[in-house]
């Protein structure tokens, strides 16, 4: 008898659990359905394998633009892009291949443009004699370019084409 009681209690509990599960599922689906479009919009798959556990053929590596022609910046604060190959450049605590041409003291011999004065400032705007450690890793901001497909649709418009008037023009 005891065992039957036990079974009955179990079944009753199971029914309760099932009802709860159905409720959760229903509400969860509704919530997910509301979140889903947002989710797919905020985390687009830009690169890599969409199903990470399966092996797939790698896309061919892009060819870097190496024409040495300085590219216009799209807005004044843009870190200029690198118009030459940086293949095999060592950028470590020991040495910085970029700075061996672009550092102020070395530009005369190399003919390379000097890194901007902001690289010689601390976070607080204090000037330093040498490159600030926070600006040491060039490729954090400056990157070479390749002719590739855009990862996301880009509707960028230069601000000079958007009717911006020069400072002081309103007077």
């Amino acid at each position: 008898m005891r065992s039957q009681d036990h079974t009955r209690r179990l079944i009753a509990r199971r029914l309760q659990a099932l009802a709860g599960l159905v409720l959760v599922l229903l509400m969860g689906t509704v919530a997910l359905a509301q979140m889903a479009p947002q989710l797919t919009q905020t985390v687009p798959q830009l690169s890599g394998n969409s199903s990470p556990m399966e092996s797939r053929e790698a896309a061919p590596l892009p060819k870097w633009n190496v024409d040495d022609v300085r590219k216009m910046r799209n807005y004044p604060d843009q870190p200029p892009v690198i118009p030459h190959s940086i293949e095999g450049y060592q950028l470590s605590v020991n040495t910085n291949r970029c700075l061996s041409c672009h550092k102020r003291e070395l530009t005369e011999g190399s003919g390379a443009p000097m890194i901007s004065v902001t690289h010689y400032m601390t976070r607080e705007g204090q000037m330093l004699a040498d490159v600030s450690p926070r600006r040491y890793f060039c490729t954090a901001c400056h990157v070479p370019q390749a002719e590739t497909r855009e990862l996301v649709p880009n509707m960028f418009r230069d601000m000079s084409e958007m009717g911006v008037r020069p400072a002081g023009a309103e007077q």
């Binding site: 190496v66 024409d67 040495d68 030459h84 190959s85 293949e87 095999g88 060592q90 470590s92 605590v93 020991n94 040495t95 291949r97 061996s100 041409c101 003291e105 070395l106 005369e108 011999g109 190399s110 003919g111």
Partner: protein
């Protein structure tokens, strides 16, 4: 003691200087020739055996440090499939120079026996000194080992990027610099380069006097400046 030694030397001299009584002249000359060929062949084979990547990387000091770094560079794998192995850059190809380098390498055997760089840490601590030896060697022989493959005459500047062609014209073709002055750390990682200036650093006394402008129309500019100076003078 000294008497005995003297007797021994005298005996050896007598054996060497007495004409052979049982061996024929033909046997001696031909045998000498064949023996010489065999000795020379064995010597060269052994020498070439020590001149291979497999031999160099049989020591863990070379395999886990410099060889591993080499495998990530263009001298190890590239689009045309030409590979430079250790001796291509580190051992001269001419025989006398090669023997001289091999004799210097006895120091490396010493280092191996006494474990001078048998850990990564020891190697990194010594890397600057070791690198400086190689830089000095390549500077002294005008980057001979680079030029064994990269000949200046065969270098088509028009196939290089403008930047590379400019710099090669200014420094390499003019003889102001040799390959290693600028191309350090192309096959291995660099030591701490603080205070080691690249080959194009302009010395303090020349600063401001060497700037390269590369004006395509420098003549026209000079003529214009000259005419404006004349106009101002009138």
């Amino acid at each position: 003691m000294i008497g005995k030694l003297r007797a021994l030397i005298l005996w050896a001299w007598r054996v060497l200087s007495t004409p052979a009584s049982t061996l024929s002249l033909g046997f001696l000359t031909l045998g000498g020739f064949v023996g010489g060929v065999m000795f020379w062949g064995a010597f060269n084979t052994a020498l070439e055996l020590t001149n291979t990547e497999a031999f160099c990387t049989s020591c863990h000091e070379m395999r886990t440090n410099v060889y591993e770094e080499l495998t990530r560079t263009v001298h190890f794998s590239n689009r045309s499939g030409v590979r430079a192995t250790c001796p291509d850059c580190h051992v001269p190809h001419d025989w006398t120079d090669k023997i001289a380098r091999k004799m210097q390498a006895s120091k490396e055997v010493w280092g191996k026996i006494f474990g001078t760089i048998n850990t990564r840490e020891k190697f990194l601590n010594m890397r600057l000194e070791l690198a400086q030896h190689e830089w000095a060697r390549l500077k002294a022989n005008d980057s001979l080992e680079c030029r064994n493959c990269h000949s200046m005459a065969a270098m088509d500047l028009t196939r290089q990027t403008t930047r590379a062609a400019d710099i090669h014209t200014r420094y390499l073709l003019s003889g102001k610099a040799t390959c290693i002055d600028c191309h350090k750390g192309i096959a291995h990682e660099l030591p701490n380069m603080e205070g080691i200036d690249p080959g194009w650093k302009v010395p303090a006394e020349l600063q401001g006097k060497t700037a390269f402008h590369g004006w395509a129309d420098g003549d026209r500019l000079a003529a214009y400046l000259e005419s404006s100076r004349m106009a101002a003078a009138e």
